[in-house]
């Protein structure tokens, strides 16, 4: 990220901020979409994060940390959107899939479905660690720094999240339970 642009935007230069927003907007949106798994919520979160970045930019002490800082604000915006979704969403429970894994390649489709369900069961905090680590390919120390959490917490969240996703995938591989007459 061009630190000169960051510095100018910190002083209130709207053109400089527009350049920053164009450069960072796609990355932020891609991450928001992967965390929230919803296009509308991701757009709202990205919009809110960009406005918060603009508002709080003068308080960023080190312009070189713009990237990490912007992702932290994005995840907080995702968290707010996730809470809103949970608050207003009707109480629905997903029914378990009974489709068995296919050997002809359609298993990947089922993987996606199972992953989607498993991922949605994770908290936003856990999702954020998974996305920053496995989508942006960031090392966990960098993920922790960006999210403002200890490295051990990031490692723990990733471990639990991946265990949950693995369980979701394995659940699909198991044959459907047979009813047993009592």
């Amino acid at each position: 990220m061009d630190t000169d642009l960051v510095t100018r935007a910190q002083r209130g230069d709207e053109e400089a901020f527009a350049s920053l927003a164009v450069a960072a907007g796609d990355r932020l949106h891609a991450v928001a979409h992967r965390i929230l798994r919803d296009t509308d919520l991701a757009e709202d979160a990205t919009q809110q994060a960009l406005l918060t970045i603009w508002r709080d930019l003068p308080q960023l002490r080190d312009p070189a940390r713009f990237d990490a800082w912007s992702y932290r604000l994005l995840v907080r915006a995702c968290y707010a959107q996730g809470r809103r979704e949970r608050h207003w969403a009707p109480h629905l429970r997903l029914l378990p899939s009974i489709e068995p894994m296919q050997a002809d390649g359609s298993g990947m489709v089922i993987d996606r479905d199972q992953l989607e369900r498993g991922f949605r069961r994770l908290s936003i905090d856990h999702r954020a660690v998974v996305v920053l680590h496995h989508y942006l390919d960031w090392p966990l120390d960098r993920v922790a720094d960006a999210l403002g959490i200890p490295a051990g917490t990031a490692r723990s969240r990733l471990h639990h999240a991946m265990r949950g996703l693995r369980a979701a995938l394995d659940a699909d591989a198991r044959p459907p339970a047979r009813k047993v007459a009592q």
């Binding site: 709207e14 907007g25 979409h33 406005l51 508002r55 308080q59 403002g148």
Partner: protein, 290 residues
């Protein structure tokens, strides 16, 4: 059974799918909003003690009166009608009944070991004024019940934290929280049912301290109510009903540890948050009696 490597490979492949481009209309909406979104600048001015604030207010009022008087004399010589004199006042917060507050400046004295001044526009309510615990709330546009507004600003002294926030009147941390700003920040991280960010150094009205985000995980508390801390006088700060996200400033104000909280509930709007930050920006802190 999937191996860890299989799971990682499948997750990484799955994450590659999906949108990557931010629609232009979203970017345009952001850029259109910049004019209406003032940047928040770091506070650089030195703190103004409450006493000095009140003296300045009185001085302004006297000057206003003198100016008005002068205008009246001048106006009288021209036989014209004088305009209304300016009115400036700082209201005492504690004697107010709970409920709507008039727009203006308020001073909290007597409830906490420091004096606190702040300004509110219309729409704010006095929510709580117990020994060691004071709070105001904003009427949320999305709720009809003013006491349950989406955001609140609180001032408190913390004697100790509840070791298990989910247990009503449960045990306190043992050993108790130490006296320093750092002691309290570290203690928050030890309590289950809290998700706490790494504390960062801050300064509010010239008083230094630490800021952290505290997410009260109410889903871990079956009654959906958590007891957070107790003041030296026994008042209890409770989070309940909905998950509350707190931003906590732990400050050293001339040797007294003061906690300021910005609290928000899930239905808070961005306008609510803007209004909350605006009130926060007016906070003045000083040792009691200064």
């Amino acid at each position: 059974m999937s191996s860890d490597l299989d799971t990682t490979r499948i997750v990484r492949s799955w994450l590659e799918e999906g949108v990557t481009k931010l629609p232009d209309r979203v970017l345009d909406a952001v850029l259109d909003e910049l004019v209406a979104t003032p940047q928040v600048r770091p506070r650089l001015r030195p703190p103004m003690p409450i006493g000095l604030l009140i003296a300045a207010t009185i001085l302004l009022a006297v000057l206003g009166g003198a100016i008005t008087l002068g205008a009246r004399i001048g106006d009288a010589s021209r036989n014209s009608t004088p305009g209304p004199s300016p009115t400036l006042s700082v209201r005492a917060f504690m004697p107010l009944p709970s409920g709507p507050m008039e727009a203006g400046s308020y001073v909290v004295d007597g409830a906490l070991p420091v004096d606190i001044a702040f300004e509110v526009p219309d729409g704010w309510f006095k929510a709580r004024s117990d020994p060691g615990l004071v709070a105001i709330k904003l009427r949320s546009a999305e709720t009809a019940d003013p006491p349950d507004g989406g955001v609140q600003l609180g001032f408190s002294v913390v004697d100790n934290l509840f070791a298990d926030p989910c247990l009503p009147e449960g045990p306190m941390l043992e050993p108790p929280v130490g006296p320093s700003v750092e002691d309290l920040a570290e203690a928050f991280a030890t309590v289950p049912a809290y998700q706490v960010s790494v504390p960062t150094p801050v300064s509010v009205d010239g008083h230094v301290g630490l800021r952290l985000d505290l997410d009260v995980l109410l889903y871990m508390c079956p009654p959906s109510e958590a007891e957070l801390w107790r003041t030296p006088a026994g008042s209890i700060r409770v989070a309940g009903g909905e998950e509350e996200l707190l931003t906590v400033w732990i400050l050293d104000v001339d040797g007294e540890r003061i906690v300021i909280t910005e609290g928000s509930l899930p239905w808070r709007t961005e306008d609510d948050m803007e209004a909350l930050h605006a009130v926060f920006e007016t906070i003045e802190l000083s040792a009691e009696g200064d």
